[in-house]
Structures are given as C-alpha cells and as structure tokens.
Point group: C2
Chain length 211, copies 2
C-alpha cells in the first residue's frame, strides 16, 4: 500500500509529519514523500527542510494521497503540474486526504465539488468557492475524501484512517505506540473554545501565527 | 532565542516536528536543526529525511535544546560527540528538553541525575539506571529540564514551554493557530487507558510498533 505525501515550498511541517507518523504504521505501508523536484523542500518558516525522495510523476498511482497545507498553498493553487498530478493520483487512489489548507488544493483540482470537507478554521469559507460544502468538524470523511482541519488535526485524521484500513485494534496499537494521549495545557484549540478576543485577533492578523 | 533540535539516524520524526511546530512560534525564536553531520538525516523507518542545517559544534550554546527519541537512540548512548555536545549545550541553555527516549540521551549525558523525568512508557524504567526518578506523567518539569513521554507528547511539552516563556495568552494563540484541539478516535494512548491485552502485546514485542 503506497502512501504519497506531497511537499511544496512553504508547507507546514506538522501537517505532513503528523499524518505520516500514524499512517506509516499501517501494515504493508510504503510511504513516499513526493515533490515537483526531488530534494529538500523548505517549510513555511524556512528553517525546516523535509526531503522529497521522488518526483510527482514517479509516483502516479498511490493508494493514499496526503496533501498538507501551509502558507505556500496559495502559490500552488495555479500550479498546473501539481493540480494535474492530484487529479491523476486521485483517479487511482483508495483514499485522498488533506490537512489544513491542503483541502483548498484538492478543491482547486476540482476534486471536492459537492463534497463535505474541512480546512484550517481561518480558511474554511474559501472551500465554498470551489463547490465544496465546508464543515467545521475536525475530521471530515465524504466517500474516499478525508479532510482535516488545521495543522495538528492531521494526526486525528490519519489515526481515523488507520482504523478504517487496518481495524480498530491496530489503530489502538498505533495510538499506544505513539503515546497519543493528548493533554494540552490550555483549551483554546478551536474558535469555539478559545477566548473570543483571541479568535478576533487571529482573524484580523492571521499571518503572524500561521506563518 | 535559539532553539536547537537534535537529529540522529533513526530518530522518530514526530518527536522532533511536534515540538518544532509549537516552539518555532515563540516570539524571537530562531530554530536550528543540528546533527553530527549536516545534511539529510533518515528517521526510524528510513522513508523520511529531515535536513540538519548545522553541525552540532556550530551551535554550541542554544537557549533551548530539544532531543527527540526513536529506535536510533540506543546507538547514540555511547556517542561521545553527541553526549559531550549535550553537556556543553546544557551548560548554556535556559531549557533542556526531550521527547520519548530522548530523555535517555540526556540521562546518559549525566544531566538527569536526581531529577524527575519521563520517557516513552516502554522505556520509562531505563531512566532509573542513570539516577533519574521516572514518573509516568506526560510532561515533567524539574528545574530547567522538561521531558515528555512518547512521540506525540512533545506537542504538549512544547506548548507548555511556550506558555512558560511567552505567557499563557501567546501559547493559546499558538494552540488556536495550529488548531490543537485533539480529538483522537480512540482512548488508548497510554498504558493506563489502553486494553490490558494490548499493553501486554506491546510490552512483549514493542519493536514492531516503535520501529
């Protein structure tokens, strides 16, 4: 089972590595980081580089596609090479997934029309422009499309998917192995839970925190 | 404020990238991935590579040290270059931190003697051999040493530290920006919560899931 995780300039690292760390533990998984060019791909802050081991066209038919988000997503919205690859890969895939603003790339490729989907809470409204139906849930499954909300939500998305593919018992083993028993020191992780003033502040100047 | 994240062969990717994604958002943070040699460093499964942008000796006095764990930690326990660097860096640091079996490297460097500390639940007992006092908590702070339990716990550790350094309001902004509102599909993320049979299975054959 081949899992392709797409990298592009200025992606958000946890969007890619969170799902990776869960999905790579699916029995029979072969995980491949792909990019337009092979080699190091810098993240949204420029101080982290993950290596794309293969070009997109070397991995044309993965079983699972994972598209992270990040500030760099904007520049990719008109990247025909990437959008074409997403369409081709999706035609072969069993599961097509995204984290954060990665769903906007799936949407721009025309894959989410009429589908329920999610994204980073600050980007959620943008999905509708592509004919998707935005929902504020953390993990949204519609057919073979599994989209996750912002950054850290890819972990929940991927663990959910491990359960669908390999069964609940295996997914629980992955959860225990990665000691995924989250205990955030605050309860401000969604716009419904954070102080309203903080939500407004991020809405007004979101780049400071997203970048 | 310089944050050094240590990479070594066969580290666990989320151990490093989870804390990174939180800590890099501390005001004034400059994050540097360091390794014995600069260049790509492969993780525990060999299918992910993060780039070490600097050699250890190029970053002798970081403000924060982050040591991930992973199966590769075992081979590092007698790596004098790394252990020497940990001691030197710790002498200058404001915070010295670890995730998962990274705490065993801090312990091997002699830094956790008489300190309360944690590690991956399967490795917890090993801490005592180095004079540390193992505790099963997810995030343990003892003086300037902040150790986290397995893999995913580095996110909680780092967000806790962001709060200590930059204040609760900023840490909540980071939590909201990264939409860290975890909703695991199962409740099996610690040996106290997972089915006993599963805990026994991982104890018996832990390599299958940790590797």
């Amino acid at each position: 089972m081949q899992i392709a995780i797409v990298l592009f300039d200025r992606f958000t690292a946890l969007d890619a590595v969170g799902p990776y760390e869960m999905l790579c533990r699916t029995p029979g998984a072969e995980t491949v980081f792909v990019g337009q060019r092979p080699g190091p791909v810098r993240n949204d802050r420029g101080d982290l580089a993950l290596v794309a081991d293969h070009r997109l066209d070397e991995v044309p038919a993965p079983d699972i596609v994972v598209v992270p988000g990040g500030p760099g997503q904007t520049a990719q919205m008109e990247n025909g090479t990437l959008l074409d690859w997403l369409r081709t890969a999706d035609a072969a895939s069993t599961w097509t997934t995204s984290v954060c603003t990665g769903s906007l790339l799936l949407a721009a490729a025309g894959l989410l029309e009429g589908r329920r989907a999610t994204s980073h809470w600050l980007a959620l409204d943008s999905l509708a422009a592509f004919g998707a139906e935005p929902t504020g849930e953390r993990v949204v499954t519609d057919g073979k499309f599994v989209t996750a909300a912002g950054v850290s939500s890819g972990i929940d998305m991927a663990l959910t998917l491990v359960g669908r593919i390999a069964g609940d018992a295996h997914a629980q083993a992955v959860q225990l192995g990665t000691e995924y028993d989250p205990q955030p020191p605050y309860d401000a992780g969604s716009p419904r839970k954070a102080p309203a003033a903080l939500v407004d502040k991020l809405r007004a100047g979101s780049r400071f925190i997203l970048r």
